[in-house]
Symmetry: C2
Subunit: 221 residues, 2 copies
DNA sequence: CGTGCATTCTTGTCTAACAATTTGAGGATC
DNA sequence: GATCCTCAAATTGTTAGACAAGAATGCACG
């Protein structure tokens, strides 16, 4: 691992920048499952003080991207089947509420529509990385469009782990390229038609499919 | 405010103890809405180092019990009507999922039943404080009984703010003493009968009532 | 080969200090 | 007298170094 990693100076806080950098490296799979992250190693690597590294680790732990208990080293978690099921159960709970609410107004969020287009392009060109990214953007946009700060925060608590598993298992490669796009389209259509129950069902189906792909990657490969 | 507050030595970590102590003082209303909490003041008051106080404040901020932005002092938030609606929308989302899941198994969680008994006693004896406490315990027990780590964590993210508003508006005093207990009983009955939709409806009704009491306290008083 | 102890690593907490930012008060100006 | 500006004070962000306490590891010994 290269010493002296660089930090983008975008965020105002140094802790923010460090947090973002590590977060990306984890969800990209650059830091693999089971990897241990000590405070001093990160501090020296990024050339920051240990308390700063500590703060970043604590925030990642709060989002489920790291596990750690008192006096023990933080580690990138390995999600087993039970935990992936739990993750998707929770995710479905949040996103169902989101699409139902959106359907009640009949307004298709513009941001989600944009992400949907990006997914279609990525699927056509077989750009898996982009497809994963746009997929996350799509679901995040749906939740954000509800305009509920707390629903959004709960979703953030979930979506990090989703990215983690996606990046590490690369389950999207198992999906027929256009399947995801079609399932998304069904959700958007139901929202546009003002059908909350249908939207919720399409969403649940879509996420159950995604969960199935992840689990089959996990066991059979 | 008294200097040199005492910390219970139960939790292993000093930060944990500090966090718990401040958290209780906030949800009890001992630290009122709008109160500013500076790092140095807490540090001197509790006789700990500033970084320790900082860590506790950050954890409280993550749970919504404090608001703060970069370089500004933390403040106990004042929830307006829109935010209370958002809070209950999010809360209903989580707890509906919880009771539906429990009803699917037909198992009434023992812990919730215990809390229900405690509420009935408190209502009979008009012990409002105990009633609030037992009410929170009841709802927390329902969610915990699902056994989903992530659902529980999302609920924790919500329930702190619920306690905050309950403690500060004391809305429970508006409820006829036995109303809450009856509404809870309806939820438990539906769970026992294995009726997910009915359980969800009873829960939504119950929480909408609670929200209504809070909002009327907020405007009319 | 297994167990127990000591070393070492890592985290928890503190003290002290400086930098960067926000806040508030006072003064100058209109 | 009101408003804006400037500057000082207060507060947070970050660093460095240090020590204590708990966890992990390896080695010696039975």
């Amino acid at each position: 691992m290269r010493t002296e990693a660089r930090l983008e100076l975008g965020p105002s806080s140094l802790t923010d920048a460090l947090y973002e950098s590590i977060r990306k490296r984890i969800v990209n799979g650059e830091i693999p499952q089971g990897e241990k992250l000590t405070e001093v190693r990160l501090a020296t690597e990024y050339n920051v003080a240990r308390p700063t590294a500590k703060a970043a680790l604590e925030r990642l732990t709060a989002l489920g991207l790291l596990r750690r208990t008192a006096h023990k080293t933080a580690v990138v978690p390995v999600l087993d089947e039970a935990e992936i099921r739990d993750l998707f159960f929770s995710r479905i709970t949040i996103e169902k509420a989101a699409v139902s609410t959106l359907a009640a107004t009949g307004q298709v969020p513009a941001e989600a529509a944009r992400a949907q287009v990006a997914i279609e392009y990525a699927a056509r060109d077989r750009l898996f990385e982009n497809q994963v990214e746009a997929d996350i953007a799509f679901h995040t946009a749906l939740v954000a469009a509800v305009g509920s700060r707390r629903l959004t925060r709960m979703h953030e608590l979930i979506i990090g782990e989703v990215q983690l598993t996606m990046g590490q298992y690369q389950a999207h490669r198992k999906a027929a390229p256009t399947t995801v796009a079609e399932e998304h389209a069904a959700i958007l259509t139901s929202i546009e038609e003002g059908a909350p129950d249908a939207a919720a069902e399409h969403l649940a189906y879509h996420l159950e499919q995604a969960q199935g792909r992840l689990l089959s990657t996990l066991s059979g490969d």
